[in-house]
């Protein structure tokens, strides 16, 4: 009995004093890895939670974990990785429906609008039967692209419900009639009166200053010619010519800056609208209540 006792003591002590520089195995059991990963996930420490979840998946197949890995990528705004991970989730999984929505949402956020093109084929109606949110998203994707829209306003609005229609209609109108300024028109206006094109392109102050500077150097050129100060006449003729042609060029450039701002503002407004309605899709499951 004494021997058994001593042996037991030695074994226990041996376990207590065994030391080496690696993580103790008891913290790396399947269950503990998942517990820790869940904790990291809820702390929004997603890169670390992904690493732990991937480690966990080496031992067992778990759809929840796979879904959470994809969700982690999505939260970190790594949309293409997220989309790829959501696509891998099996049809038999409980999370298939959520993953299906999330896949399209992440492709949309990634700017990969190609995936929505398949919805605009002949059998659109059957495809859209159970995925109203994705139908809306694919119509929304049309507004995010540079190409012209081939769908009539009525068709476009039919995808949305009565609450969303006023917003959708407003964005459709803004996209189809963006109110661009024409660079050629701006240039022509400035050719007639220097600076007029700038006023047309939305920069009143620049227009006035262009006209003033051109006018001043034109006046100085003419008056110096009258007084036969040839050197000065040459300098001011040169600057007035530079100002004249520059204001033509600058007006065209300003029109394009205006247009870029129109596009930018449209994208910001439209994206914040889409995010406020969660891209028309059901909210992703919350694992950290």
């Amino acid at each position: 009995m004494k021997k058994i006792f001593l042996l037991a003591v030695i074994i226990l002590c041996g376990e207590i004093f065994a030391q080496d520089a690696s993580a103790p195995k008891s913290l790396l059991t399947q269950r503990n890895v998942k517990l820790f990963a869940d904790n990291l996930f809820c702390q929004r420490d997603f890169l670390r939670s992904i690493a732990e979840y991937e480690n966990y998946l080496k031992y067992c197949n778990d759809d929840t974990v796979k879904f959470k890995i994809a969700l982690s990528y999505s939260y970190m705004q790594k949309y293409s990785e997220a989309a790829a991970k959501f696509k891998l989730i099996d049809k038999t999984s409980n999370y298939y429906q959520d993953a299906y929505y999330e896949y399209y949402k992440n492709e949309f956020l990634d700017g990969n609008y190609e995936v929505f093109k398949t919805f605009f084929t002949k059998d659109t109606v059957t495809q859209f039967s159970d995925t109203g949110g994705i139908k809306k998203l694919s119509y929304a994707s049309l507004l995010m692209q540079d190409d012209k829209i081939n769908i009539s306003e009525k068709d476009f609005l039919s995808a949305f419900n009565s609450e969303e229609q006023p917003y959708a209609g407003k964005f459709y109108l803004e996209k189809t009639n963006p109110g661009y300024k024409k660079p050629l028109k701006a240039a022509l206006l400035s050719a007639i009166v220097p600076g007029l094109g700038k006023i047309y392109a939305g920069e009143l102050g620049d227009g006035i200053f262009s006209f003033t500077l051109w006018g001043l150097s034109e006046y100085l050129a003419v008056s110096n010619i009258k007084h036969k100060h040839w050197a000065r006449a040459l300098i001011f003729s040169g600057t007035s010519a530079l100002f004249y042609f520059s204001s033509i060029y600058g007006s065209a450039a300003q029109a394009q800056i205006y247009n870029a701002k129109v596009d930018f503002n449209f994208n910001v407004d439209f994206k914040s609208f889409l995010s406020s309605v969660n891209y028309f899709l059901p909210k992703e499951p919350d694992f950290c209540k």
Partner: protein, 280 residues
């Protein structure tokens, strides 16, 4: 015999339970050592993962202080100063004694110095100084560093002087203060003689050209007035002379500031790369 057996079994069972508890503690200690070993091999990101794992499984919070302090140190080494300060403050909440609290506060001070939030660092040092007089020398030392990073070299020299009259840091700070140019002097002399400030800072070519331009436009302006061409005089004086005159003053100021930046940066580079004493 029978009662003896029971005694043995009882002792063994008791030992088993006690050791099981020690075992759990021991596992955590092992985990802490693992995290520290990662820190020592400069794998800071992974060290944080392991320290977080430790903190998560440490339900009794026996390692809450060292784990969070380690995380803070890792972030500091990675140059992620706001995160470092967040975890120092978290560690402070779990500190068990005054020394540990002091250590975390010192960590915040050093991080503040590194991220050049010197005002906050000095404020913290002042607070600590009210608490204790034990570490007065150490606090003066870091106050000196804070002043260095705030470009107050004479104040820094005073701090180091209070620790040791022959401190190499004191000598360095005094030398920097002595070498620095006076921005105000450079500006003022350039107001009176265009180019003089540039000469003071050693930018002779620029000084000569400034003087030349000011002389030329001044001459033309004055000449125009003498010849009764008021419009020309006004134009030259306003658009050319004034422009180069103001440019000359701006340049004197700029050159003095640039030289000072060079002097202080050289000292800072020395401190970062060649200084052997304790650094933040």
């Amino acid at each position: 015999m029978n009662s003896g057996k029971i005694k043995y079994i009882f002792i063994l069972a008791a030992f088993f339970f006690i050791s099981k508890n020690i075992y759990a503690q021991n596992e955590l200690a092992k985990q802490y050592e693992y995290a520290v070993s990662l820190y020592n091999s400069e794998k800071y990101f992974d060290a944080i993962t392991e320290a977080k794992r430790l903190a998560f499984f440490d339900t009794l919070r026996a390692f809450a202080y060292p784990a969070n302090e380690l995380i803070a140190e890792c972030y500091k080494q990675g140059g992620k100063y706001p995160d470092a300060i967040f975890y120092y403050k978290k560690a402070e909440r779990y500190a068990k004694n005054k020394d540990e609290i002091y250590k975390t506060k010192l960590g915040v001070i050093k991080t503040d110095i590194l991220r050049k939030a010197t005002g906050q660092a000095i404020k913290l040092i002042d607070e600590l100084k009210c608490d204790t007089t034990l570490n007065a020398k150490e606090l003066s030392y870091w106050r000196g560093w804070a002043y260095i990073f705030n470009d107050e070299w004479d104040a820094a020299a005073e701090c180091f002087d209070s620790i040791d009259h022959n401190s190499p840091l004191k000598l360095l700070c005094q030398k920097v203060e002595k070498d620095k140019y006076s921005v105000l002097f450079a500006k003022v002399v350039s107001v009176f003689i265009p180019g003089a400030g540039q000469f003071y800072t050693g930018n002779y070519l620029s000084g000569i050209m400034s003087l030349g331009w000011n002389f030329l436009w001044g001459y033309i302006s004055v000449n125009s007035i003498i010849e009764n061409r008021v419009f020309d005089a006004a134009m030259t004086a306003n658009f050319l002379w004034l422009r180069f005159y103001l440019g000359n003053i701006q340049n004197a100021e700029k050159f003095a500031e640039m030289k000072n930046l060079e002097i202080t940066n050289n000292a800072l580079i020395f401190l970062q790369n060649n200084f052997n004493g304790e650094k933040p």
